[in-house]
């Protein structure tokens, strides 16, 4: 699987994503500057976590206007896989590649801790190696991960099996509607999620529950 990681000004999980990708796929990821207008020939594009443009105005808003986003949209249009993690998820909603919006955590505090998640959907290139209903634990680290959308959108996401990860009952760190932690687009090739799978691929660093996501992608895209 060939992959690229987009670097926005003040992305800060770009190296983490690249390290995880290299560790899991055995080949280095392309680092793509936000001002570039083209993506290299890759199967997966990762929009990493961080604070693109300082998270000023709204998280992900300015990054969604970057040149590279047109290319990311075209890649998604062609059926290429796109994974937005944390700030990357925010960029995806701001670019309208995913519905809804991410607003301030309900308790207004930045939260960094491990959360219990349920894998709700395994019919996707991102999660086929998980079991449906499997409980996994990923860290979150964000101040604005509270997913909101109108009822109709929420119903549709659920009805179409596009809610991929949910915070386990009682462990919702941000007040997200219906405990939503990660969602797919209609074509199921774009995933955005607030928790960080790339931070749980190394047993020394608090777990390996994120590995199956990369293994799923490798199987689906190679």
């Amino acid at each position: 699987m060939k992959s690229a990681v987009v670097v926005f000004p003040a992305s800060n999980c770009d190296r983490d994503a690249a390290t995880a990708l290299e560790q899991m796929t055995g080949r280095p990821a392309h680092m793509v500057w936000h001002q570039d207008s083209e993506l290299p020939d890759v199967d997966l594009v990762v929009l990493p976590g961080g604070f693109s443009y300082g998270d000023y105005l709204r998280c992900g808003a300015m990054a969604s206007q970057s040149k590279i986003i047109q290319a990311v949209k075209a890649h998604a249009e062609r059926g290429g896989a796109v994974l937005g993690i944390c700030n990357g998820f925010q960029v995806l909603t701001e670019s309208h590649l995913l519905p809804g919006a991410l607003i301030r955590n309900a308790d207004l505090k930045f939260v960094c801790r491990s959360v219990a998640l349920e894998v709700d959907e395994t019919q996707s290139a991102f999660t086929r190696k998980y079991d449906k209903g499997q409980k996994v634990s990923f860290p979150v680290a964000h101040g604005e991960g509270n997913y909101v959308a109108d009822e109709e959108t929420l119903n549709r996401l659920e009805g179409e099996g596009r809610v991929v990860f949910r915070y386990a009952a009682g462990d919702n760190p941000n007040g997200s509607s219906r405990n939503i932690a990660g969602i797919l687009n209609e074509k199921r090739n774009v995933l955005g999620l607030m928790p960080h799978p790339e931070r749980v691929v190394d047993p020394l660093l608090g777990g390996t529950d994120g590995r199956a996501m990369f293994e799923s992608l490798i199987e689906a895209l190679s």
């Binding site: 000004p9 003040a10 992305s11 800060n12 999980c13 190296r15 983490d16 390290t19 995880a20 976590g49 961080g50 604070f51 443009y53 300082g54 998270d55 000023y56 505090k109 930045f110 939260v111 960094c112 801790r113 860290p139 680290a141 101040g143 960080h196 790339e198 931070r199 190394d202 020394l204 660093l205 608090g206």
Partner: protein
């Protein structure tokens, strides 16, 4: 030209003698700009005039020290061509005025000190002291400071991996916010601030200059700014986004060989950075202020030289490399301007609108800066072993202690920090030291900050020794070899002989401990004049320590791991209750002698514990500090989500044994099959040790005394901070 009146001199914080000396050095009256430059360069903050003679006594050398005090940060060699660069600094006063921005810019400032030397910051720590919880300002300050630290550090993408939080009434009007940054570089790619050579371009990079935090602002606004309607805010606002760009741009420029010298603009911005670079390089510097990127209209030379706008750097480049550098800063969308040139005159010359507004010998700002041997008086240390009520129920006391503001879990704090970004955090907050892997290797850095201010109050010398010893112990407890420290000396007014005595004794205590433990001081910061209504804060010489381990996979943690592991107490227990948490929280008294650190025992016991961890198989260690043995064991139960059965050695007095704060001690747990090997090794090394029980499910039990479910301990320990911060509870303590 503005006449320099005695009032103006006074408003610049210069004494009559100092001003007379300035006139001698200049051979004339200074201009206003020159006066401003002298005032900041000769300030306590920049010149260390009260402490320099004493700081000179600290041990600063070891074979692994690449750079001791004197540069922006200290540097140690951690093998394989890797260097670790670190420093701690205070932002106390600004954080009291505006907790969010004060703490945030404190974080930003210390990061610049580290990346200006070529390092990528990899870990942040924060040592915080607040007033008593019942004080009306405390909650607001805690909330703002923690948000500010997180706001800046999280955006930078550097994990904040530990720190300290204390509450005490002596900080009611003067909180302490000390931040430490640890970075990594290659030993052959370390950048310094000596602007050697003449004719080299001086370049300004980063944010534009505004009128932020200008000293003597009251005076300045009356003098030069009749147009402005508002009083100028002296608070600086941090812009972590720009800092992140500045970090990446600087590291990119550093990968070339275009830089001769580079220095962040910290306190006293353009003034101190240019003066220090010229001083260290033995050169002169000529600045043209018209070239300085400016945020506001009509800025005066005085404004620009004294501005403390954040996220700025000054560099000296090799001639002809300007375009290359500029391209990098353009890419990162940062301001870049050539604002001057180095000369061979050893003078700082500042031009503005075609006029020379300052022209002064650089040595007048450095070597000639005042240095005082202030009178000091060493107050006798508190003595005696306090009495206590033997009938108080031990388990209830344990619960009370675990829920005390100084002892309760700091989870509420650290969950607001990104602790795992950069994917190298092996041990996040909650243990003895944070452990951060050196990216791409098996090596790890162990990082801690420590000081117990109540010991320092009772006995400044022993207390300072203890701070070093505890840092050394915390690093040892995870299995790392302690290598070096940075200090942050927070004290009251040095012009009071009693306070000066605390400072002198404190520095001597640090020196003695660092020498004995082979733990040199490679950097530091002094924050003096910390007072509330004329009362000094508790003397607070915070110690930031860094150690190295060869293989992070072997790092020990405090969590009990297996049922029926043997629990061993390492070190001698006499039951020292003076100045203990037990005495304060249960008996309501702060008295008696502070515990003494016997440095040879400290070293012997610690070396033994490290040996056990390094040999493999021992993965559970906790040092014993605040609260004593039973608190340490309770913390190990909480972290491991399991219990323990403890048996007191024959003849021991329960309360002093369980809650005494004797030094040089650790709790170690291991499978019983290892008992013989471990006890033999201890005997061979002459290390006092005793087996005191074993791990167990669910309950902490002390034989013949009582028991508590771990869940109940958890509720007590985890509950206080969130309850307090949500406004539900304002306990009256200390």
């Amino acid at each position: 030209m503005t006449a320099i009146t005695p009032e103006l001199v006074k408003e610049h914080g210069l004494s009559d003698d100092e001003y007379a000396h300035i006139k001698r050095l200049m051979n004339r009256e200074p201009t206003l700009v020159e006066l401003g430059i002298f005032s900041v360069m000769w300030s306590e903050h920049c010149s260390y005039k009260s402490t320099r003679v004493h700081l000179a006594k600290l041990p600063t050398k070891a074979s692994w020290v690449i750079q001791g005090p004197g540069e922006n940060a200290g540097v140690i060699d951690i093998g394989d061509g890797d260097a670790c660069i670190f420093k701690m600094e205070s932002h106390n006063h600004p954080s009291f005025i505006e907790p969010y921005q004060g703490a945030a810019t404190g974080v930003g400032g210390i990061m610049r000190d580290v990346f200006t030397m070529g390092a990528r910051p990899v870990a942040m720590m924060n040592a915080l002291r607040f007033g008593e919880p019942s004080h009306p300002k405390t909650r607001h300050l805690v909330s703002g400071v923690v948000r500010g630290i997180g706001g800046y550090g999280n955006c930078m993408g550097v994990p904040t991996v530990g720190g300290e939080v204390n509450f005490h009434k002596s900080y009611n009007g003067n909180i302490l916010v000390n931040a430490m940054c640890v970075g990594l570089a290659r030993t052959d790619k370390i950048f310094k601030s000596a602007a050697k050579g003449a004719g080299n371009p001086v370049v300004y990079i980063g944010s534009k200059t505004g009128r932020d935090g200008i000293h003597g602002a009251t005076m300045a606004s009356a003098e030069f700014d009749d147009a402005s309607e508002e009083k100028r805010p002296t608070v600086q606002v941090g812009d972590p986004f720009t800092e992140k760009l500045l970090l990446e741009a600087c590291l990119e420029l550093m990968a070339t060989d275009a830089i001769i010298a580079i220095q962040d603009m910290g306190a006293a911005g353009l003034t101190s950075s240019s003066a220090e670079m010229g001083d260290k390089g033995g050169s002169g510097i000529e600045l043209d202020l018209d070239k300085v990127p400016q945020r506001e209209a009509n800025m005066t030379a005085y404004d620009m030289m004294l501005s403390e706008s954040q996220e700025r750097m000054l560099a000296v480049l090799k001639p002809g490399r300007e375009a290359e550098a500029e391209a990098i800063f353009k890419k990162w969308e940062l301001d870049f301007a050539v604002i001057g040139i180095t000369t061979d005159t050893k003078r700082l010359v500042v031009k503005h609108k075609g006029e020379v507004v300052a022209d002064m010998p650089i040595t007048a700002l450095s070597d000639e800066a005042p240095k005082y041997s202030r009178p000091f008086e060493i107050r006798p240390a508190a003595t005696g072993a306090p009495s206590f009520d033997k009938s108080k129920p031990v388990m209830a006391s344990l619960k009370t202690i675990l829920a005390a503001p100084d002892m309760a879990s700091r989870r509420w704090v650290w969950e607001q920090y990104d602790v795992s970004v950069m994917s190298d955090t092996v041990q996040a907050p909650g243990g003895d030291s944070a452990v951060v892997r050196v990216h791409g290797t098996k090596k790890g850095l162990a990082i801690t900050t420590d000081v117990t201010p109540r010991y320092c109050k009772a006995d400044p010398f022993e207390g300072a020794k203890q701070a070093v010893a505890e840092a050394w112990r915390n690093i040892t407890a995870v299995g790392a070899r302690p290598l070096a420290v940075t200090d942050n000396l927070n004290f009251g007014n040095p012009q009071k002989p009693q306070i000066m005595g605390e400072i002198v004794a404190g520095i001597d205590g640090i020196g003695e401990a660092c020498r004995a433990l082979d733990f040199p001081v490679i950097g530091g910061n002094c924050s003096l004049y910390n007072e509330t209504n004329g009362e000094g804060i508790l003397p607070t010489p915070a110690i930031g320590g860094v150690g190295l381990m060869k293989d992070v996979a072997k790092s020990a943690t405090i969590a009990f791991k297996r049922n029926v592991d043997v629990i061993m107490l390492v070190g001698e227990t006499k039951g020292h209750l003076g100045q203990s948490i037990y005495l304060r929280e249960i008996e309501g008294r702060e008295e008696g002698a502070a515990p003494r650190v016997h440095l040879p025992s400290e070293k012997r016991n610690g070396d033994f514990v490290r040996l056990l961890i390094e040999a493999g198989g021992i993965d559970t260690v906790h040092d014993i500090s605040d609260g004593g043995l039973l608190v340490a064991i309770a913390e190990m139960c909480l972290a491991g989500k399991m219990g323990a059965n403890i048996r007191l050695p024959d003849g021991s007095d329960p309360i002093p044994f369980l809650f005494g704060e004797d030094q040089a001690r650790y709790v170690v747990a291991f499978p019983s099959a290892m008992s013989v090997r471990v006890t033999d090794t201890a005997r061979n090394h002459g290390v006092p040790h005793v087996l005191i029980g074993c791990t167990a499910p669910d309950k902490l039990l002390v034989e013949g005394i009582g028991e508590l479910p771990v869940s109940e301990l958890r509720t007590a320990h985890e509950g206080w901070f969130p309850r307090y911060m949500s406004g539900e509870e304002v306990p009256v303590t200390n």
